[in-house]
């Protein structure tokens, strides 16, 4: 299927009544939910994850993608509200027509970026398991190096995620790993329990401790972009919104094409695909064309719906921002419990979610990045299978990862890039003596 016919197929999938309704409603709902205090984008997406079970794979990913873009524009609209504009229409009228043009430009860029996914996917499809393993390892090294956290802590977060992904039965041999002879968790840690626990429990706990460093970190992670000041403040807010939409698309690209999620949103979407048996990666477009192309079409439509809604419903959105987060946080926690419980109707999985949430809360207190843990967990499965297949193909010769030119090149590129990124960060710290670690960007949120 070439790219144009692929997109035509995607729009055909999206135009099915249920999918179109889900796309429009989810984009609108995302826009509204972004204004509710105490409900960050990562929380909303994590909450929506278990309920995607009831839907087919294409509908499920369309729902989540539209929700993600609605949340992105909703955060932008919230920033506009904070800088004193009663609605985006008034803002556009006050400074015509630059903000709207900037935002639409961001939306077009978002669609163009995600349209690259089929090309990258095709390039990666020729990779053998050894190359895929090298690519994943290179990306993990790069992620640890690029993290604003210290290198040992970032590596430990990724390693923790990888270890958590190993729990349960080994696919080929049926041997139970790290199970301590328990009968629980036969299939390992449920993805829903991990995502909800790691993202939600610390958020709700932080509400009880608003003055602590952890709460400050959580709030900083989920707060809308800071309100700019000066004459071009509306244009700046629009630029932030457009850039956020393009950034969201950019984060979906490696997840769709390579199966490697860099952000929570990509991780949740990848998790949804995995739950439906459509594992993200180079083969996704051929194995689950409806989900793949439907998602790309949904990105275009969700951007359009969110911008129109944002322009039309400024006043309604400002009312939502006044709701006390103490009213919404308990409902969010109970929805997380319901979502985890509903997967297998097993209360033990709710306890697993709680345990992982407490673990994540402690990580957050210690300044670790939860995003790296989730990333490690999600790539753990493909990495495990890839290593197994590569070693089987090479008759157990571990040098296969270094003797194959492309694999070796990928590993070398990952290491060189990681060194460059780290050296750049170190030199920046030295040249900016006042800069603290809290001021650097984080994966959280």
């Amino acid at each position: 299927m070439d790219i144009l016919s692929g997109f035509a197929h995607g729009f055909a999938v999206l135009l099915a009544p249920l999918n179109l309704l889900l796309c429009v409603l989810a984009a609108a709902l995302g826009l509204l939910l972004a204004f509710l205090p105490g409900v960050g984008p990562s929380v909303v997406l994590a909450l929506a994850l278990p309920f995607g079970f009831a839907l087919p794979a294409p509908s499920s990913v369309i729902l989540l993608a539209a929700l993600a873009f609605g949340l992105t524009y909703g955060r932008g609209a919230a920033a506009w509200q904070r800088i004193g504009c009663r609605g985006a229409v008034q803002a556009a009228a006050a400074d015509p027509p630059q903000p709207l043009v900037i935002m639409i430009g961001g939306a077009i860029l978002a669609v163009l970026i995600v349209a690259l996914a089929p090309l990258v996917s095709r390039a990666a499809a020729v990779f053998a398991p050894a190359e895929m393993v090298a690519l994943i390892v290179a990306v993990l090294i790069l992620a640890a190096a690029a993290s604003p956290d210290s290198l040992p802590r970032a590596s430990a977060a990724i390693f923790s995620g990888l270890c958590l992904s190993l729990l349960g039965q080994e696919i080929d041999t049926g041997v139970r790993r790290l199970s301590f002879d328990t009968v629980g968790l036969p299939d390992g840690i449920p993805m829903v329990a991990l995502v909800l626990g790691v993202l939600l429990i610390p958020e709700v706990a932080a509400r009880w401790h608003a003055g602590s460093a952890a709460a400050a970190a959580v709030i900083a992670g989920k707060a809308p972009p800071p309100a700019p000041d000066g004459a071009g403040e509306v244009a700046a807010a629009a630029r932030i919104t457009g850039a956020a939409a393009a950034g969201l698309s950019a984060s979906l690209l490696p997840m769709l094409a390579l199966g490697i999620p860099f952000t929570y949103t990509a991780a949740v979407l990848g998790g949804t695909l995995t739950i439906h048996g459509a594992v993200p990666g180079p083969q996704l477009a051929t194995r689950a064309p409806d989900a793949f192309w439907g998602l790309l079409a949904a990105v275009a439509v969700a951007n359009l719906v969110a911008i129109v809604m944002m322009l039309a419903a400024g006043r309604l959105l400002s009312l939502l921002a006044r709701i006390d987060d103490r009213l919404t946080a308990p409902a969010v926690l109970m929805l997380a419990c319901l979502g985890t419980y509903s997967v297998n109707n097993d209360p033990f999985e709710v306890i697993v979610m709680l345990a992982l949430g407490l673990f994540a809360a402690l990580l957050l207190e210690s300044g670790w990045e939860r995003g790296l843990l989730i990333m490690g967990f999600l790539v753990g499965g493909p990495l495990d299978v890839g290593i197994d297949r590569a070693l089987t193909a090479a008759h157990g010769d571990a040098w296969t990862f270094l003797s194959r030119p492309v694999a070796a090149l990928l590993l070398a590129a990952g290491i060189i890039l990681a060194v460059i990124v780290r050296l750049t960060q170190v030199s920046r710290w030295f040249t900016a003596p006042g800069a603290s670690t809290s001021g650097r960007p984080r994966l959280d949120g």
Binding site: R326, Y341, L358
Partner: protein, 106 residues
């Protein structure tokens, strides 16, 4: 039984970590974690015998009990919002979860 042992080991690890951090002078906000733990644990324990509505009410009550400070109306409102959200989603997605206690069931 072995599940309980695993959970006990995890709890012990968390306590040791908390003590170590406290000795270093950086204390962990224990109360919020305990409150959330109680709320989620009560939901998990009660959802099967009592149904979703009762479990949600108990969970939210446990979450709010440590922070009442005379705002009973807010607590009742949060319970209402929680139950409506949970029941609406269950019915919307048609989740196979019973809302009310199953009288006579084991």
């Amino acid at each position: 039984m072995s599940r309980l042992v695993l959970l006990a080991i995890l709890a012990l690890a968390l306590i040791i970590l908390a003590v170590l951090r406290a000795r270093r002078g950086s204390s962990i906000a224990v109360v919020p974690l305990l409150v959330v733990t109680a709320s989620v644990a009560l939901f998990a324990i009660t959802v099967r015998p009592l149904g979703l509505v009762a479990a949600t009410l108990i969970g939210i009550a446990a979450l709010n009990v440590a922070d009442l400070r005379g705002r009973v109306t807010a607590v009742l409102l949060s319970m209402l919002i929680g139950v409506v959200a949970v029941v609406a989603l269950t019915m919307l997605v048609d989740l196979p979860i019973h809302l009310w206690p199953r009288l006579g069931a084991a």
